[in-house]
């Protein structure tokens, strides 16, 4: 049986290769994720934990006190070869041609085994007056550095000196390397600069020392308390853990996307295998005729799947490692997530092989059962293209319906109670349900869309509609794979748009003015008209500012606003209270200090004039009490502008407008300050855009796999319909029309999946946003129609592209194929 299986494999190899591309991509995704995760860990270990990696044991003073007294005791422990007390001095250093800056100078270990620095140029220092510095200081070997030591208590210089650079040390991705300069000198020099008290001892044992055992031996030798004894490896891990709490979360998120990719690949491969088995019905039946048991047939199909899966997974592992290496090379060490080389952990290889092979095997279970149902007599009958009716269909329908309804109820609960977890669970359940129901739901939609297509697509369109509905299960599975990717992408896009809209609304409320201009003195009245003339400034309003006398007799700085003029300038007045005539808006602090509540009366004085105003406690957005302009002028008739609020035109030119406003204002009033909140708005936008881009890229992998599925299904249909296509060609269908037929079929399936996916995804995106942000004051649900439309177009056009190769093959069908022996 095995030889038959292998012969089968060889015969169908080209088609299997196409089919397993889905598995290759999914496995590559999984492996690349794991490898990058491990690489970033290894990079950080080498960088942040470099000084510990090659060390056997590290002794640390838990309270930061000196360990100088312990050096002797540790050195006396049997098995200890060398002890390096790590001392460090903090100095100000001036490199040639630059200004003085902070430098941390660490002692270089006397024992070569305890020297961890990676020297890229020159050598480590071996006498006082010499220093090796980090490459990030951009110094060169031979430079002379002026060093000044300051007394930390008095801030006075205690000593000055010079050190010659003997070497450059590569600190790799050590995050601290970018923050301050680091140097390395011999212990005597570090001591001369004030670094005398070690807080850490690094210990080297003899060759082949077991670090654990050595640590256990060292600990009791340190009689006094408050020390921590760790192995070097442990210390390195701890150092890395301190820096990278978020790395694991990142890996988890990536793995979620990888899971989606694997799921989609599973659907695609299941579909492809089902078609392959169906095509071989006669072969299988012939096998049964000559005496193969149904178990043998099943085993043959499963073996084939296992071999295929294993090979595809192996290719995928290679591709994944390659991908990770590429990403690592592109990202490099100068990034928030430093990467250097690739670290390929065994578990990544194992996981890749296991995931790919198991997915393929699981996907083959259905088709292999189909294969065993082939009756021996089928070999003697002409091929029956009628779709199989699945016994599991009803069960699947029931389960799908249950999941959709239950999931919907959970999501409703999640939205109402603003509970993300309920919505997430509901979303997952309902989506699984949708995938199960798709087998029933998609074919009627395709048929309906096909009827519409038949009207516009001419004969090829009508034929394509018929072909797409003729094997509903296969069409449904192909469409479902694409549906998953499109749904998730749309959900992300809609969710991001709604988040953006809500965040912007929140920003609008918190910072209602696009630009706020203030001054410690007065702002000339001519400034506002000039600023309003600036390109990109939509309008502005001036707030008057004066000192008045508060009820407690103290001076109080208040401002006056004309609510009618200000409202159109402000983005939002949701969090802002603007005073009407006769009202004074008091911030909470002012209300508290005068003991006033809303509705009570505040009396303000300015010279002989005084005015009684109704108190409204609220936010003025300025921190000062706010009156109406009319009330303020009644107190101080010649009050001048203290604050200007400007509104900018929406669009790209905001940054330029802010720059020009700043320039004009600075020229007119040197001590004025300009705050442009528009730029903050833009910053939020760009963060969301970047996130969206990354997520869409990741989901793009799933969509790509699904499209391979579309291409595969079509390619296999072309093989199945060889005779039929030949007949059509004999009847006068031109090559172009035959290609059009396949193209329409692809467009139909991909288009239906895209439209359904967008509808579903849109709903998920809105539900998700509502349940995440429901706690905010205002949740704005936003559907970015352009992007959503773009998704439909891209998926459909990609489906069309997927039909190109199969269509070319179909067009080569000779008309005589129709009449060739069956």
């Amino acid at each position: 049986m095995l030889s038959t299986t292998l012969a089968n494999l060889r015969a169908h190899l080209p088609r299997l290769v196409a089919a397993t591309l889905a598995v290759v991509i999914a496995v590559a995704f999984v492996v690349a994720t794991l490898v990058l995760n491990e690489t970033s860990r290894a990079t950080l270990l080498r960088a942040a934990g470099a000084e510990y990696v090659g060390t056997d044991v590290v002794v640390t003073a838990a309270d930061g006190s000196s360990l100088a007294g312990a050096v002797g005791a540790v050195a006396a422990v049997p098995g200890v070869r060398a002890v390096d007390p790590t001392t460090a001095a903090e100095v100000q250093a001036r490199f040639p041609g630059r200004s003085e800056a902070y430098l941390q100078a660490q002692a270089v270990a006397a024992d070569p085994a305890l020297r961890w620095q990676r020297v890229t140029d020159g050598a480590l220092p071996d006498s006082p007056g010499e220093i090796a510095v980090a490459t990030t200081t951009e110094a060169a070997v031979g430079d002379v550095v002026a060093v000044t030591v300051y007394d930390p208590a008095t801030g006075e210089a205690t000593s000055t000196g010079e050190a010659t650079v003997t070497g450059l040390v590569d600190l790799g991705g050590d995050p601290s390397a970018g923050l301050f300069a680091r140097g390395f000198a011999v212990a005597d020099q570090v001591a001369a600069w004030g670094g005398t008290e070690p807080t850490e001892l690094r210990v080297a044992g003899w060759n082949r020392t077991d670090p654990e055992a050595l640590a256990a031996a060292v600990a009791p030798a340190l009689g006094f308390a408050e020390v921590e004894v760790r192995t070097g490896e442990q210390a390195a891990e701890d150092a890395v853990a301190g820096i990278t709490g978020n790395r694991l979360a990142l890996a988890a998120v990536l793995l979620v996307f990888a899971t989606v990719a694997v799921l989609v690949a599973g659907l695609v491969i299941a579909n492809t295998l089902a078609v392959l088995v169906a095509q071989r019905t006669r072969d299988l039946a012939l096998l049964r005729c000559v005496g193969a048991t149904s178990r043998q047939v099943r085993r043959s199909v499963l073996t084939e799947a296992a071999v295929t899966g294993l090979v595809a997974s192996a290719v995928g592992v290679g591709a994944g490692v390659g991908l990770a290496a590429l990403v690592s090379a592109l990202v490099g060490t100068d990034s928030p997530l430093p990467l250097e080389g690739v670290a390929v952990p065994l578990y990544a290889v194992g996981a890749g092989l296991a995931v790919g092979t198991l997915t393929t095997l699981l996907a083959a279970l259905g088709p292999s059962r189909g294969a065993t149902r082939v009756a021996p007599l089928a070999a003697l009958r002409p091929v029956d293209a009628a779709p199989l009716r699945s016994r599991g269909g009803l069960l699947r329908f029931g389960a799908g319906l249950l999941l959709v309804l239950g999931g919907a109820a959970l999501m409703a609960l999640g939205v109402l109670t603003v509970n993300v977890y309920a919505s997430l669970a509901g979303g997952t359940a309902s989506f699984l349900g949708v995938v199960l129901l798709a087998q029933r739901a998609v074919p009627p939609v395709v048929a309906a869309a096909g009827r519409a297509l038949g009207r516009v697509g001419g004969v090829p369109g009508r034929m394509a509609a018929g072909n797409a509905s003729r094997n509903p299960r296969r069409t449904a599975a192909t469409a479902t794979a694409l549906l998953i990717g499109v749904t998730l992408t749309t959900a992300m896009v809609v969710g991001a748009a709604s988040t953006r809209a809500t965040a912007q609304a929140g920003l609008d409320a918190a910072y209602p003015a696009d630009v706020e201009i203030g001054a410690y003195g007065e702002l000339p009245a001519s400034l506002l008209p000039r600023l309003e003339d600036v390109d990109g400034v939509a309008g502005g309003t001036a707030l008057l500012g004066v000192d008045v006398t508060a009820p407690d007799g103290q001076p109080l700085w208040v401002q006056g606003v004309d609510a009618a003029a200000a409202t159109p300038v402000l983005r939002s007045t949701a969090d802002l209270t603007l005073p009407a005539f006769g009202e004074a808006v008091l911030p909470q602090w002012a209300a508290d200090s005068y003991g006033l509540r809303t509705g009570q009366t505040l009396t303000l004085q300015a010279g002989e004039r005084s005015r009684a105003l109704t108190v409204v406690v609220g936010d003025t957005g300025l921190g000062t009490p706010l009156l109406s302009t009319a009330d303020l002028r009644a107190l101080v008739p010649d009050a001048t502008a203290a604050t200007l609020w400007l509104r900018l035109d929406d669009g790209a030119g905001q940054r330029d407008a802010i720059e020009e406003v700043t320039e004009l204002t600075g020229a007119a009033v040197p001590d004025a300050y300009v705050t442009g909140l528009a730029s903050e708005r833009a910053a939020i936008d760009s963060v969301l855009d970047a996130l969206l881009l990354v997520v869409t890229g990741l989901l793009g992998v799933a969509v790509l796999i699904a499209l391979i599925g579309v291409g595969n299904t079509l390619a296999l249909s072309v093989v199945e319909r060889r005779q039929e296509n030949g007949l059509l060609r004999a009847m006068g269908l031109t090559r172009g029309q035959l290609r059009a037929l396949l193209a329409w079929e692809a467009v139909l399936v991909a288009g239906v999946a895209a439209v359904l996916g967008v509808l579903l995804g849109g709903a998920y995106g809105l539900i998700g946003t509502a349940s995440v942000l429901g706690g905010q004051d205002t949740v704005l649900l936003d559907v970015p129609w352009l992007q959503v439309g773009g998704i439909v177009v891209v998926a459909t056009v990609a489906g069309l592209l997927a039909s190109v190769l199969p269509a070319r093959r179909a067009a080569r069908t000779a008309p005589v194929a129709a009449i060739a022996a069956v």
């Binding site: 009847m731 090559r735 172009g736 009449i819």
Partner: protein
């Protein structure tokens, strides 16, 4: 009874002016070198307008190959094929495709119909591919003559073999092609359905002057034709005019088949 009428080389037979289809020096070689098969080894043949001709010969004699080359379904290795005044052997694929759908009708032994289309759609398919509308009166006449009026909405899988062949004949006749080619049209049918189909082909020749060329290995089927062209080893091997089953059988025996 057999009257072999060999054409004189270089001088076309008298019927050429009215020939619907003719071939000169037609060869077809499959494969190359030692394994080359000369399916057609130089065939000169002509079919008059309004004539019902049967092509006969032992299995493997090149009947199907000849038909494929005459109908523009397959390219000949050398030689010429004319459909009326058009030389098929010079046309490019798209021109050939258009010529097939406009001027040639086909009835095959099996797999004649597209399973996704119903009978009516199958019948009008070639005209639709050409973007032409069938003449309704002619459509009704063809459908009525073939007894398909009640079956037009049925899918091929809902039709018997005889009914399927009748749909295929209707499809072939509808565009009023210059010639209808039929390859073993009764090969898959029981004798009654077969007789029905042959009657229909003959009556289309008698009543509407349709030219029909039919490949068959069945002497009874051949007896419906006006003339039988015999083929052996890829070469013409004589003709039988106004054939009967008995005369055809005898001619075949003469070939040693």
């Amino acid at each position: 009874m057999s009257v072999p009428v060999m054409t004189v080389p270089g001088e076309p037979p008298a019927s050429v002016s009215s020939a619907a289809v003719r071939a000169t020096g037609l060869t077809k070689v499959y494969g190359s070198g030692e394994t080359a098969v000369h399916a057609l080894a130089g065939v000169d043949v002509a079919f008059a307008r309004g004539e019902f001709t049967a092509i006969m010969g032992p299995s493997g004699s090149g009947k199907s190959t000849l038909m494929h080359c005459l109908a523009g379904l397959d390219a000949a290795t050398s030689g010429q094929v004319f459909l009326g005044g058009t030389e098929l052997t010079r046309l490019r694929d798209d021109e050939l495709t258009r010529l097939r759908r406009d001027r040639i009708g086909f009835v095959f032994q099996a797999f004649n119909l597209l399973p996704v289309l119903d009978a009516r759609e199958n019948v009008v398919l070639p005209m639709q591919l050409a973007g032409r509308r069938p003449d309704p009166a002619w459509f009704d006449a063809v459908v009525a003559r073939l007894g398909l009026r009640e079956r037009l909405r049925h899918r091929p899988s809902e039709l018997s073999g005889g009914q399927q062949q009748r749909v295929a004949i209707a499809r072939a006749l509808l565009p009023r092609p210059d010639v209808v080619f039929a390859d073993e049209p009764t090969g898959n049918l029981d004798s009654r359905s077969g007789a029905e189909v042959l009657d229909l082909l003959r009556s289309s020749v008698r009543e509407t002057g349709q030219t029909v060329v039919m490949v068959t290995h069945d002497p009874t089927a051949a007896s419906y034709a006006d003339r039988v062209v015999l083929l052996a080893d890829g070469r013409p091997a004589g003709e039988v005019d106004r054939p009967t089953a008995a005369s055809v059988l005898e001619a075949l025996r003469g070939l040693g088949g």
